[in-house]
């Protein structure tokens, strides 16, 4: 049984210029005790996906169809506001991208960590002890006095570790990490990733790890989901996707990853072009306008092609393309 199983998810936003189709037929699984990476450029629908799972879509957003099945029993799109609120925190918790702004500036770290345990019957002292324990786990020095301090008194990396401590304090079944290391420098990034991996093992939760940093995904994740313009274009194990990418977009992404550059070059390669206007989605492939492997089939609706065990790409040519790749 998967911790999270999303199928056929369609999310729309109503805008002044008509409906915007932000997520289209999104489907993937987050298996138990696995770390799944979600990768894609900005604007690919990662934030909308998180908000849809958490039930925190903006007022003009709406899940039109699809299922978000959590722990096999909770259908998140059907839950009431209160039921959803009761899952957020104890069962599904989140670490956001911006460590500077993620904590409330006028409440002390201790107050915030005690507040989120509001459902427990434990005494305030017990809750505080729990918070200290978690802060020690994420290696905040002098954890006890840290409780009385305010967020601005910590560095960015420390704040992100505090946010991780808060997220894992309730031992959730699923941790959503939204680019938790993007705002940190390289050394901090490595230590934070290692910390996250350790804690995931200790607690035994599943993690949905959102990043545009392919190196981090390769390092940390078991599975990877590649998103483009609100669609899942490819999914599979990290090994399959990184070594035998089936979708042209995935391949371009991998080519553009600075870590993979073999030749010295002055210009960092990027993918030319822009994401299409989601208010007027193309009939055929969303990536067609920027794709190098144009073909007659590109203006037809794309069907997910199975490329092996749990490896699929949404490109009608995926079979041929990946075979080409292998033979080349």
């Amino acid at each position: 049984m998967s911790t999270l199983s999303i199928s056929g998810l369609n999310v729309f936003f109503s805008t002044e210029d008509g409906p915007l189709h932000a997520l289209k037929d999104v489907a993937f699984e987050v298996p138990e005790r696995k770390i799944v990476g979600i990768v894609g450029e900005s604007g690919c629908g990662k934030s909308t996906l998180i908000n849809a799972i958490l039930g925190l879509l903006a007022d003009n957003g709406e899940v039109r169809s699809g299922q978000i099945l959590f722990e096999g029993s909770h259908e998140l799109t059907q839950l009431s506001k209160v039921e959803m609120q009761n899952l957020r925190g104890p069962r599904i918790s989140t670490v956001f991208q911006d460590p500077m702004g993620a904590l409330n500036p006028v409440l002390s770290v201790g107050q915030q960590m005690v507040n989120i345990q509001y459902r427990d019957d434990a005494s305030k002292a017990q809750k505080a002890a729990r918070a200290v324990e978690m802060l020690q786990l994420v290696r905040i020095p002098d954890a006890e006095s840290a409780l009385g301090r305010y967020p601005h008194q910590f560095s960015g990396g420390m704040k992100q570790r505090i946010a991780i401590a808060m997220a894992l304090m309730m031992e959730p079944a699923l941790l959503i990490a939204d680019e938790p290391t993007t705002a940190l420098d390289a050394t901090l990034e490595v230590t934070t990733i290692e910390l996250l991996k350790d804690l995931q093992k200790k607690i035994g939760c599943s993690v949905m790890f959102i990043s545009h940093h392919l190196g981090v995904i390769a390092e940390l994740c078991d599975d990877v989901v590649v998103m483009y313009a609100g669609e899942v274009v490819e999914r599979g194990t990290v090994r399959d996707v990184f070594h035998a990418p089936g979708h042209p977009y995935t391949r371009r992404l991998l080519e553009c990853d600075p870590a993979r550059q073999t030749e010295r070059t002055r210009i960092l390669p990027t993918i030319p072009g822009e994401i299409p206007d989601l208010r007027a989605r193309p009939q055929g492939c969303v990536f067609a306008a920027r794709c190098l492997q144009q073909h007659l089939g590109c203006d037809q609706p794309q069907v997910e092609q199975n490329l092996g065990h749990d490896h699929a790409a949404r490109c009608n040519l995926a079979d041929e393309v990946s075979n080409q790749e292998v033979s080349a």
Partner: protein, 314 residues
Amino acid sequence: MLNYAVKRLGLSIAIVSLAMFLLFCMIYLVPGDPASVALGPRATDAMKEALRVKMGLDQPIWVQFWNFFSGAWTGDLGEEVLSGRPVLDVVFEQLPYTLILIAGGITWSVALGIPLGCWAAINRGSFADRLVGILSVAVIAVPSFVVAIYALLIFAVTLQWLPAIGAGEPGDIGDQLVHLILPSLAVGLGWVGYIARMVRASMLEVLEASHIRTARAFGLPDRTITYRYALTIAILPTITLLGVGIGQMLSSAVFAEIVFARPGVGKLVYDAILTRNFPVVTGAVLVTTVIFVLLNLVADLIVGALDPRVRSSF
């Protein structure tokens, strides 16, 4: 924090000194002779001359300024023309009434303004939000003396729910509070609008902040998020605003005191003008200015004390 307080205090002293200087310029440079103003049209030249000497008006202007300035800083604001009592005593006698009136005005504006602004922000874009917006603008626009007179007409004269004049029986707090309701409403109503708008705007800003998203992602109840996580931040700018508001409320208090025949500094100055009691006018203006500057200072220091970011950064 101490550093910050000292810096703000220094600035306040500079502003008060400058205000004194400006007041001095106004009195002595604007055409009109304070001595003849004080004595009225029937005074003889000899009487005027005598008073001029007594008031020090025969001395060179810088000596006059120095006397005025040093006197003002040491609390010597001159003497009342008729009784000869020190002006400072006269002003301080009336000051508590005015301060209570302003405190009442602040109570109205905070008690109505913060919930209204908060409510409008939570229901952003709704009919209620628009209504609060329009009402806020409306109460800001209508002058306080019109509010005072209409409140008097409606609630005291026509409906007779509340007393029309005076500050209530001395010693009887309940009676004094009843007498405070209408005048303080006239003083504070406009500020209900200012505060509602300010709270709405800063609430909307805070609710967009990522720490609020974090709080929601931890499933904290909406009430906790609204009141403990957002409002505590959103009301900080309101306190600064209130510091400025006290100056305007001092102005409104003059009208409220006259309309409701309440004792107070405004009434004192008004009566002093009618009786040409000139030193009382300047003395009262100076005292209210100092109070205004001081309360602004206090408002800033309160914000500093409440906001941990400010508290430790100075």
